[in-house]
Symmetry: C3
Subunit: 267 residues, 3 copies
């Protein structure tokens, strides 16, 4: 990350400024983001990207995916509902991304539940995705370490990528710095595909920001703030799912500045 | 069913108590429920399960499904959008369920519209699912009988399973007793995947309740009550779909006791 | 189209009357509409059809699709997320539609992004779908012409079908007349699957109206009016997506008459 961070209040202000800038850039540039993602999360993911200003595409067809990835500014690879079609499309998508220098976010969803999926995720790690987004159980399965900030940092360092470890209090690390995002709301865990969609939102930020660490922090902060706003009027997870799209769509500089709660984490 | 029922008011009170207990148990135990279900209903089904407190998984990949089923406490098999992948995953899922003694709910959706699907449903009936959930047209196609309560009872008896025949006034029978659930709202028929999701909710109840008849009654009563609550403020099927998730998420003992409307049916 | 149109105010009144009649017919007859459509749009499409009064089915299984199409009153073919299964189902669906004289709406979504999909769309055009629905970029890719009303008319004439060119101000042409529908709201572009669902809604109108031009005009006008109503209370794309289903479900003669804004377009 290009911000020299020493953990003080200055850093926080500068980080918040960066988050605002990247989010506005996303609105302005409306990047195409291709998502090879699971069928459960597809619609919510596409709606979240649209709400943020990005243009989603979702084809998993081996015959077509290279065309879509080649025209995109970022690629999300989510391992959920990995059927034969998606499995065949995966190397093609990654090949097209490498060729066109399209940055990749990997979301190894549910690797803790399925050994073949874990093996695949290990393989994909070798292709150096810019960012890996996962929750605590998935981190534990993939890294073989408990989901602590320092372990996320060490895993990021070993893998030469940025790790975005999400949960109550997200941690992002590039192997050196650790940043904690203290936004979000518990209702976010009650909407299917929210985690998957957050990976896509990170990819959208990565599409307009060359720094993977900042992209991950910005994406998670924007979603967390939108979640907090939505929770204020939600009556449960159904109205919350609609409300977070509304909130992200209406998110402005003021709300982001006021509510984004990021801080450097000391190991 | 372990409740000796004689059709009186006592039964109703005791049934309502059981429903409350099972629903609370579901909240408390948060069981994993694997759903081999159609792509149209996947997201709504997952959201309904989350709103009730269960943890859904949805993979239909033959390579993975045994791992997911083996870790689950109930399996839903829904025959909608039955593509080659799902078709291949089906026997694997059922095999894993049998091996790990995971109880199965079968939802033979649209068997009335497709002869090959009907043939498959007949085959699956041989594997003794704990519960079969279907609507009137599907029952007619599968049982070859008109969708009357006594026919549901006879079919349940013949198949050694519980039949949950849904419609305006659901009927559940284990081949002996028949219970009618007089909850729900007509808007439930205007949301795609509601029937499919109700099968998943029954599976979630089955995951925490060894008695398939009580599980089916509880699942349908909880959903019906949530539907009634949602209908009070809905402005149409769109807000209703969000509202029923909100209502199920917020459903408490008091609302269930006050509103659940179950009664034994005399043939 | 059987209305002789001369572009005056009389035409508009008669067109609006026709729109009302067709929409009421749809409510009354509740036609089955089979949709071979992409996985992202499936749930929203099914919900939109239900809100309008139609009965959706969505199977893409080659083994079953002929049964579903044969029982339907219209078929939507949408080329999104065209996996191997859908690709195999496509000729079967079209064959069954031809055999049972089920009219077809073709939605060549994203043909501008994928050469193989464009080639397939050209092939499908040879099978004379009653209506082609597409946006400006897709029109440009498929017709090789800029998305101007006169070009839509010429393309419709060349292809012996009705072209519904959607965007800010939809244009429908049968190769002779051009009708512009000035309804809708910008939030419609922020909901994933809205365009795909509009194709399905046109198919539902086609199921009850022998005139493809009127069916396309009615479908787009009804959706556009519902969108305007929904936008009045929406707080963003999330509440808007629910709201447009509510509005379509509640749409009545008065609102349609008052708000439908159609006019003949002079080249």
């Amino acid at each position: 990350m290009h911000l020299p961070l020493d953990g003080g209040g200055e850093d926080v202000l500068r980080l918040t400024e960066e988050i605002v800038t990247i989010f506005q850039e996303l609105r302005h540039r409306k990047p195409r983001v291709h998502c090879l993602t699971n069928s459960v999360a597809q619609a919510f993911t596409a709606n979240l990207l649209l709400a943020a200003g990005a243009i989603p595409s979702m084809s998993a067809s081996p015959e077509e995916i290279e065309n879509f990835v080649g025209r995109a500014s970022a690629l999300l690879v989510n391992l959920g509902t990995l059927d034969a079609e998606r499995r065949a499309a995966l190397p093609l998508a990654l090949g097209a991304a490498a060729k066109a220098r399209v940055p990749v976010v990997l979301d190894p969803v549910f690797v803790d539940s399925s050994p073949p999926r874990l093996a695949l995720a290990h393989q994909l790690m070798e292709q150096a995705p810019a960012i890996i987004r996962l929750n605590g159980s998935e981190f534990q399965a993939l890294a073989g370490l408990s989901p602590m900030p320092a372990n996320a940092r060490d895993f990021a360092k070993a893998k030469h990528g940025v790790v975005a470890l999400t949960g109550a209090g997200d941690i992002v690390s590039d192997g050196e710095t650790m940043i904690r995002i203290r936004n979000g709301h518990v209702l976010m865990t009650q909407v299917t595909g929210m985690g998957c969609a957050s990976g896509a939102l990170i990819a959208a930020h990565l599409a307009v920001c060359g720094d993977p660490m900042l992209a991950a922090v910005s994406g998670l902060a924007a979603l967390g703030v939108a979640g907090e706003i939505a929770a204020e009027t939600a009556r449960g997870p159904g109205s919350f799912a609609a409300g977070i799209l509304d909130a992200l769509y209406g998110l402005d500089q003021e709300a982001l500045e006021e509510r984004a709660h990021v801080e450097t984490e000391v190991a």
